[in-house]
Amino acid sequence: MVPPVHFTERVTMTDSTDAGPVLAADGTPLKKKLAQALFVSRARAFGLVLPLLAFILVSFIIPILSLMVQGVKNDTYSANMPASTEIMKGWDGISEPTEKMFAALVLDLIKAREEKSIGRVATRVNREVSGTRSMFTKAARKAGKLEAPFMAAMLNIDEDWGNIEVWGAMKVSSQTYSAAFYAAAVDADYNADGSFERLDEKDRIYVYLFIKTLLVSLAVTLACLALGYPVAWLLASLPMRTSNLLMILVLLPFWTSLLVRTTAWIAMLQSHGVLNNVFVWLGITTDETRFSLIYNMTGTIIAMTHILLPFMILPLYSVMKGISPAYLRAAKSLGATNWTAFWRVYFPATIPGIGAGGLLVFILAIGYYITPALVGGQDGQLISNFIAYHMQKSLNWSLAAALGGILLVIVLAIYWLYDKVVGIDNMKMG
């Protein structure tokens, strides 16, 4: 705790002109002593936070930042093909490749083949211009036997070695730091001369995917609001005993494992599942024309809404609980109709809850991975699923990092908004 500051008779507070600064017991100025005490208590508070801060920085923040760096940095080419990397720095990306460049390339190919890194280099260049992978592996196999002039020798192996596009791809790959992956993440091509160019209509994937993810998140948020608002209102207005019982119906799904709920929706929605059987039995559809409710966007939205609904109900409920029922009665006694009383009095008071629940659901929905992966099929995949795909299957980590970086920026922007509107200190856990 704060060390006590002792005042003694020596501390004189006279108004005489020669009085020095107010002194503490040990003779130091009081001001300094107080500053010291404040510093000690701040250091103590900080010392308590420090272990966790260090832990979060090392095990969470730094890993994410290192992945973000991978989004702009890729040294697969420059680390394994040093000679051609060096010589291409002076190449403008437009003029014809020179004999010197070919010589450096051959040198690098021999080295990369010896070090068995040619596969990775070829994959890297192939990501810029597809079809170049085999050119590299083939040339590397024959590079050891080539003799000057190398340009003619290389063209002899494959005419495409004279293609400026291939060299452009190599130049882009050879840049350790480049915007190539961020460009790819927004469906653009990063050229050797530093310009960007949008891909053809048919090759665009990711911008559409980001928009789709945002729209799905918005749809899920609106669905949660539409379903959560009446339920929260009912829970807030019923007597405590009844509402506690009904609250269990909200809390049980909330506490149930995500995988359990996803499994349950597979059982519910599949073509011979519970829901379709009920529809057939009710005569809504026939056995031949069962609805396809799962492994598509419909299934993703139904399951995600169910999983995120408690995150909307709980903040709404805690806000509605604080609104006095007297307000509605007062409005009605002053002549408002039911609708006016709700719309002009009750609804505005619930807006903080809508903001809190809505942003929470939206943030969770935008990064959803498990449910779309299991019930989404082809059509219901979101941006997270593509990040996982590039991390685990295609091993294009830099593209995964760039996609993740864009997703992170979107989420942090919403979080910032959330903090401004609701405040992170007001976050409630139901």
Binding site: R44, I61, L252, L259, A264, L412
Partner: protein, 311 residues
């Protein structure tokens, strides 16, 4: 929405009941999927749907085979009499997953709760510098999309530039990596619950303890800790549930031996879909129901002790 007054008009009456019907439908939507898997898990056939026998309540159509399969799956010889228990304990995939879930959950919770409680105490002191900034950093694991977290950790823990580990794949593909990831994901819950408990904490109590000669450590354990314990426990519970339910980080960081229950369910759904996962799901739902009941009873008890009766 309180009880219908006697002078309510017809329209008000219709709306009153319509509103209740709408709410009932939403409650059905919330609870049906969770409950429907319970009867489905007793299916005698390897289907995810009610067979005609089950609809007719034919005893033949029900069986416990999928519950038996939880133990048998992965065992070297499920029919052996000798060494059955050892075999099950060692080899059954779901048993191994359960062990992994508890080991990982325990260590992640221990890390998250101890660091998180200390940090929450520091954060609720008025002298704490840069409070807003530090709070946002510490809460961030809850905000950053799981996929970005998992991918980042996988990349960091499996990369050779990482100064903290030697050699490749040192932490990715081990329980240690998952424990660190889950601890990071659990801390925001501990911080939020403990800080909110500390809002009502009377700081003169610690000053009184110090005044009576107790050191900071003694003050913490004898005075502060007993008072904030409910917050710490519920924060720890949240951290444990987070770890127990988390699968994205496990998908990225776990080796083949480190599969947890949700990870095993994931491969169950992806690879060989069988009602065994429904049986596991049923057990998990029953555990959730038990947990909720205990929490509700505890809440009622504490309300009764404080003299607030429900209703």
């Amino acid at each position: 929405m309180s009880a219908l007054p006697p002078y309510a008009t017809l329209g008000q009456r219709v709306w009153y009941y319509a509103f209740r019907v709408i709410c009932a439908l939403i409650f059905i939507y919330l609870i049906t999927p969770v409950l429907i898997i319970i009867p489905l898990s007793f299916n005698a056939e390897p289907y995810f749907t009610f067979t005609s026998g089950m609809m007719g309540l034919d005893p033949e159509a029900f069986s416990l085979r999928w519950y038996a399969d939880i133990f048998h799956n992965g065992m070297a010889d499920p029919d052996a009499t000798e060494g059955w228990w050892a075999d099950m304990w060692q080899n059954a995939v779901w048993i191994r997953a359960t062990k992994n879930s508890f080991i990982i959950g325990f260590w992640a919770t221990a890390l998250a709760t101890s660091f998180g409680t200390l940090a929450a105490i520091g954060l609720s002191r008025s002298e704490m510098p840069y409070k807003g900034l530090i709070m946002s950093i510490l809460i961030s694991p809850m905000i950053v999309p799981l996929i970005v977290t998992a991918a980042g950790m996988f990349y960091f823990y499996s990369n050779d530039f990482n100064p903290f580990i030697e050699g490749k794949q040192a932490l990715a593909g081990s329980k240690m990596g998952i424990i660190l990831a889950h601890a990071a994901l659990g801390t925001p819950f501990v911080i939020i619950t403990v800080t909110s408990t500390l809002v009502g904490f009377d700081n003169s109590l610690t000053r009184a303890a110090a005044n009576m000669g107790a050191g900071p450590v003694r003050t913490f354990f004898k005075v502060q800790m007993p008072l904030i314990l409910p917050g710490v426990i519920s924060g720890g519970l949240f951290a444990f549930i987070t770890s127990f339910d988390e699968v994205v980080a496990v998908l990225f960081l776990a080796g083949p031996e480190d599969k947890t229950i949700p990870r095993q369910m994931w491969s169950g759904i992806r690879e060989q879909i069988s009602p065994t996962i429904l049986a596991v799901a049923t057990i998990l739902v029953i555990i959730s129901i038990a947990l909720l009941t205990v929490l509700e009873l505890l809440r009622r008890r504490s309300e009764r002790l404080r003299g607030i009766s429900p209703g």
